[in-house]
């Protein structure tokens, strides 16, 4: 692998990687069926947690 190839790859790759990752994360985050789980998780830390669940 030549230096020029690696540099060219580095200069361009990040952009596509960034876009792909953002789309993936947004889909996961806003996937409708995930909403219930997130709402539950956000509230669950506030509930009693003095001992492990049996």
């Amino acid at each position: 692998m030549t230096h020029d190839f690696l540099v060219g790859f580095s200069k361009s790759f990040g952009l596509f990687y960034l876009i792909a990752l953002s789309i993936g994360v947004l889909i996961y985050t806003y996937w409708p069926s995930n909403k219930k789980r997130f709402d539950y998780a956000a509230k669950s830390v506030l509930s009693e947690d003095d001992k492990p669940w049996a």
Partner: protein
Amino acid sequence: MIAQLTRNERQTALLILLAVAIGGLAMAVGGRDNLLGIHGAIAMALAIVMMFVVIGGYYAPEPTEDRTASYYDDPTKVGIIIAMVWAVIGMAVGDWVAWLLVFPDMTFDAGWASFGRLRPIHTSGVIFGFGGNALIATSFYVMQRTSRARMPDQVTPWFVLLGYNLFCIIAATGYLMGVTQSREYAEPEWYADIWLVIVWVTYFVLYLRTLARRKEPHIYVANWYYLAFILVVAMLHIVNNLAVPISLTQAKSYSLFSGVQDAMTQWWYGHNAVAFFLTAGFLGMMYYYMPKRAGRPIYSYRLSIISFWGITFFYMWAGSHHLHYTALPHWVQTLGMTFSVMLLVPSWASAGNALMTLNGAWHKVRDDATLRFMMVAAVFYGLTTFEGSFMAIRPVNALSHYTDWTVGHVHAGALGWVAMITFGAIYASVPWLWKRESMWSPRLVEVHFWLALAGTIIYVFAMWNSGIIQGLMWRTYGEGGTLAYSFVDSLIAMRPYYIARAVGGLFFLLGAAIGLYNIWMTIRSAPEAAYDMTPDEPVVAGMPAMQPGE
């Protein structure tokens, strides 16, 4: 503490300690003609002391089976105390070296007392001693609560906590004797690095084992941040510390990489240590303790997920902004700059998310210094990440790099964000852990808060001033087209700011010392007789009971 361990666990603990003692002995004998031997002797001595502790409690009755119906918090308790002790040590050394820049002759003509050897004790003491122990202690607490599961066994958390502190002690004593790799924030030599890998992998596996026992199907977001902290720090640590020791019986080693590759690797590590040690880990802390203390769920759980992946992704590219205008290729600098600026988005999303969580609980922030610590931490997190992105822009960096501005920036983050969120989390968990109504003295928590805030502001303003003046003096041209100031001119101009910085640091140190005293007195005070064993709610004097999830 030992009585809590089963007979089997006591035996395992003894075996591990024996192995460490034998390893220490081997190092002490093999390295008797150099500093490696001293470190071997230290490791052996500490292991033997711990063996006596275990043997002292060896014949105590075994714990009853009902222990599994509660969380295992002993390592968290000890970890919090150790963290506060390191805070006082690390900050005291930091303030001492700050005064050394005002009175440079306070070195007693001794190598160990000079600036260059003491500075890493300050940096490692506060980052790894204080920050690291606080992260380990709180992560044990949080992972059990959010998983609704007890840790799988009782020896592993002790191995992680105490093994980590052995690393910290080897590091700090090494600096005094001049054992260092010169890699900033990764100074300890090869043998300490290998030991840390062992401890760290155990820590990671412990975390996964606890998560595997979880009763909640969803892994709460705080754990994501703690996990990223553990995982990525392992990765960074291993790559950055690749080195060839000159002999297995010598402390000295030479790094595998040299020059530009080495510089890039070092700052890839250095900046991501900021990202995953000083940011991700403490965000995990914030995402648990802040909602808990405020009695309100995190403002947007989705936003916390988006910022998690944003931070995990962006930070890795940003390290090269430490090398603007150097011999590092230009395109790497540009990549680092671009990603550093974009990093502002997930950073501010996190800070905003934290502050919005407090919306509707501002009366609590007003009355409760513990929650106020966390609020101020979120504000400083927002300010520092903005400043960081700004300083990563190449022309700004031309001025700020190599100056005290960088030092000011680091301390805005370290004092304002990391230390403040940690103090908040510790003040919240101490009464919960030791089952007390509140801290021994809520007044002293207030005093600590104002000392910490005043100290941070004095420190940061002093360094902004000195840094910008320095940067401008170095690049100012006189009438004849020649440089207007010699280096010494800029040094003379720094003196008042160096004094102000040392005073600000002293305030912060005093606050931490008061905090340690307050924690100690809380532990010593009699437990609340009427305490009803539902300890995990924040109790704030004179305040209506919270409504969970209101």
